[in-house]
């Protein structure tokens, strides 16, 4: 105990490495070990995490028989904290952190993940991807929406693609999904009026993770707004411009009244429950989280998958002023703190994973691939009713900021949108508070003391 005290005292006073840029991964994969090795991932607890573990253990071991894959899972609410506290400890129990696209800036700036630009150049066929998908899960500084900056560095490769799907009740509103946001709202209104006990809409409103923030961002994009001007780092005056105000007004005054009472803390699982229990006409959820809807054991909509599919339709999001949809999904990254042998194995895994035939197998196993050929393959399109939705959405995606301050920006947006949705703030105040507080976070670099309040 005393020894520990001394050790920590010295450590406290002495060391603190100033390195803040990401270390580089080698361009070619170093020689791999023949000894047994466990390649560990970290993700939050949801079906794709279990699918990945099963898939990788079944397929990757065919080429690397001495490797075992372990996907550590943490509660969704704890995901960012669990990864970044380990990064802060400079010791990780994972080799491949599965970062949300928005976490990249924080990880890169702190030097937590490897720069794999050279590795990608040498080993990955970048032309096989929609450029924005490749950029979204790996590039920093962030790419412009829809593009990739080929001179920027890459820090990750796509693991699981995702976006929102509109889930609608074919038996209640007809086979044809609404095409515009306005139409969607009026259809939901009518459906709610016609079907007592069923609410018009269900979507994410919670103040944790990125729930309410993604919802507002989606409406903001559809109504032609912007989250920020990345070049001038301006948020105040951008997010709360006329388009932004209109989006907040639509969300709070037109969409929220069509949701169930008490839905103000809903996230992925509550929306799914509402759909499965037949309580919503139209719902929005992440595609990767929608698989459970087809499980008859959890649904009251039918006793077989087919019966459920007779009632549930999946469509791309309606458009209004733009046809943008939220970018979801996550990339694979390499922890700067894992042993060299594991880093080499991680790079080898990534190279293996991004091959055309493996991407198709991943699609068949329930994953969402990113390579264009895999996205267009029958293996993918036939694997789930929402996969066509994803394929159609790829060219329409927009992401949030992936700056180092992301965690605080999203918290400000979450809590304020959540407040507006639940009547704790007026929509206008909430939006202006978001603009002001987020701008404050971006500008706080020169501030002395009290950072983070």
């Amino acid at each position: 105990m005393a020894a520990m005290l001394v050790a920590t005292t010295m450590a406290a006073c002495g060391q603190d490495d100033g390195a803040t840029s990401a270390p580089k991964a080698p361009a070619t994969i170093p020689e791999l070990t023949k000894d047994p090795l466990t390649l560990s991932f970290i993700w939050f607890d949801w079906p794709p995490a279990h699918a990945l573990e099963a898939f990788a253990n079944a397929e990757y071991t065919k080429v690397r028989s001495n490797v075992t894959i372990k996907v550590n899972t943490v509660p969704n609410a704890n995901w960012h904290d669990a990864m970044f506290t380990q990064f802060a400890a400079h010791k990780t129990d994972f080799d491949i952190p599965i970062l949300d696209s928005q976490h990249i800036g924080e990880a890169v700036t702190n030097g937590n993940i490897l720069d794999i630009t050279d590795f990608v150049k040498k080993n990955i066929d970048v032309k096989a991807y929609n450029p924005y998908l490749l950029a979204a899960y790996g590039q920093y500084p962030q790419a412009e929406t829809g593009k990739r900056d080929e001179n920027a560095s890459l820090y990750g490769l796509p693991l699981l693609g995702d976006t929102w799907t509109m889930i609608y009740r074919k038996d209640l509103i007809g086979d044809k999904p609404p095409q515009t946001w306005d139409e969607m709202i009026s259809v939901a209104q009518k459906c709610q009026a016609d079907n007592p006990g069923v609410s018009g809409l269900a979507f994410h409103q919670a103040n944790g993770s990125d729930a309410a923030a993604v919802t507002y961002n989606t409406v903001n994009a559809v109504y032609g707004g912007n989250l920020w001007d990345s070049k001038t780092r301006k948020i105040d005056g951008v997010i709360n411009d006329a388009a932004g105000q209109e989006a907040m007004d639509v969300l709070v005054n037109k969409m929220k009244p069509l949701t169930a009472a008490g839905s103000g803390n809903w996230f992925i699982d509550e929306v799914n429950a509402a759909v499965a229990q037949g309580k919503a006409c139209i719902a929005f959820n992440w595609i990767a989280a929608s698989g459970g809807l087809l499980d008859p054991k959890q649904s009251t909509l039918g006793t077989t998958r087919e019966e459920i599919l007779d009632k549930l339709g999946f469509a791309t999001l309606p458009s209004q002023k733009t046809n943008l949809v939220p970018l979801g999904g996550m990339g694979m990254h390499v922890s700067a703190y894992s042993p060299a042998a594991n880093q080499a194995e991680a790079l080898n895994f990534m190279k293996w994973f991004e091959q055309a035939d493996i991407q198709k197998k991943w699609a068949a196993a329930g994953g969402v691939p990113s390579r264009t050929d895999a996205l267009e393959s029958p293996e993918f399109l036939n694997a789930g009713p929402f996969n066509q939705v994803y394929a159609d959405s790829v060219s329409r995606m927009r992401d949030m900021w992936n700056v180092p301050e992301y965690a605080r920006l999203v918290d400000i947006e979450n809590t304020n949108v959540n407040a507006a949705l639940n009547g704790a703030k007026t929509p206008k105040d909430a939006l202006n508070d978001i603009a002001k507080e987020q701008q404050g976070v971006l500008d706080s670099g020169s501030r002395k003391g009290g950072g983070g309040l």
């Binding site: 105990m1 005393a2 520990m4 005290l5 920590t8 005292t9 406290a12 603190d16 490495d17 100033g18 390195a19 803040t20 609410a77 960012h80 904290d81 970044f84 506290t85 990064f87 802060a88 924080e106 700036t109 702190n110 030097g111 937590n112 919670a206 103040n207 944790g208 169930a260 009472a261 008490g262 839905s263 103000g264 803390n265 429950a273 509402a274 229990q277 309580k279 301050e405 965690a407 605080r408 918290d411 809590t415 304020n416 959540n418 407040a419 507006a420 949705l421 639940n422 009547g423 704790a424 703030k425 976070v441 002395k448 003391g449 009290g450 950072g451 983070g452 309040l453």
Partner: protein, 316 residues
Amino acid sequence: MSNPVPLTTDHPGQVASATPPAPGRSRRLSDRGLAVAFISPALLLLLAMSVFPLLWALYLSFTDYSATRGGPAHFVWFENYTAILTSAQVHLRALTTLIYVVGAVALQTVLGFAIAYLISRRTHGRGLLTTLFLVPMMLSQVVVGLFWKFMLDAQFGVINSMLGSLGLGQVEWLTRQRTALISLIVVDTWQWTPFIMLIALAGLTAVPKYLYEAASIDRASEWFRFRTITLPLVWPLLLIAVLFRAIEAFRLFDLVYILTSGGPGVSTETLSFHVYKVAFLGFNTGTASAYGILMVLVVIVLTQLYLRYLNKLKED
């Protein structure tokens, strides 16, 4: 806090000598040596795990250190403290915490005392009743939080379902500003009323019988007896129970994290929850440390004042 350790020179290895020496062994530890040998391991552990971290936090609280960004810490002296004390965000959380602490502790004191009083008047089944009432406080806050979240769910929750069958409307327990804070208070009250009950019961069953007998000879009214005999005897115990509950409630984190995660908006964010956000969302370790030190100070100062008041009460 006063200097706690006059005895740290000793080697912790001496705990090993806590086994009895063979009879007749000549070397005898002096009483003082024994005290040092027995006390120092525990104090050393506390030094390493409580005092040292606290001192470290104190040091960090004067810097702009961040646990993830690395780089050296720069001294900003009292800037973190002034920023916290003047922040409207912090004031808001302090108010929320105050309402929560006062509301929850008051409610569970009244309820807990009432239950204890009712139980103390029963002659049969007291043991069983007490045991049953105590179940909630033995459960983990995680279990309590999760399960109440399920029961308070506006659509599928059993509470609204029961209100519905009584012909009452649905209540949005966790998603309205007022009801969310009330829900927190209710859940905390559910879990900790047994605590107050337990202590009040100890006081009530200890009131000497002869006092009541004397009072009944005087034909004193029931209320008069309650006020002049029961209450004064139970009061000091109750005050200690309230102190414990207030300290616990002041640092509430688990329940908020699970039940509302601070929502709607930030209206149920307590001070502890805010510290968590400062510490782990932006990794503003310096600010979070100052925030934490201030919270510890509040607890210590208020506890001291309260104990002083309590001692005065005892002397009177």
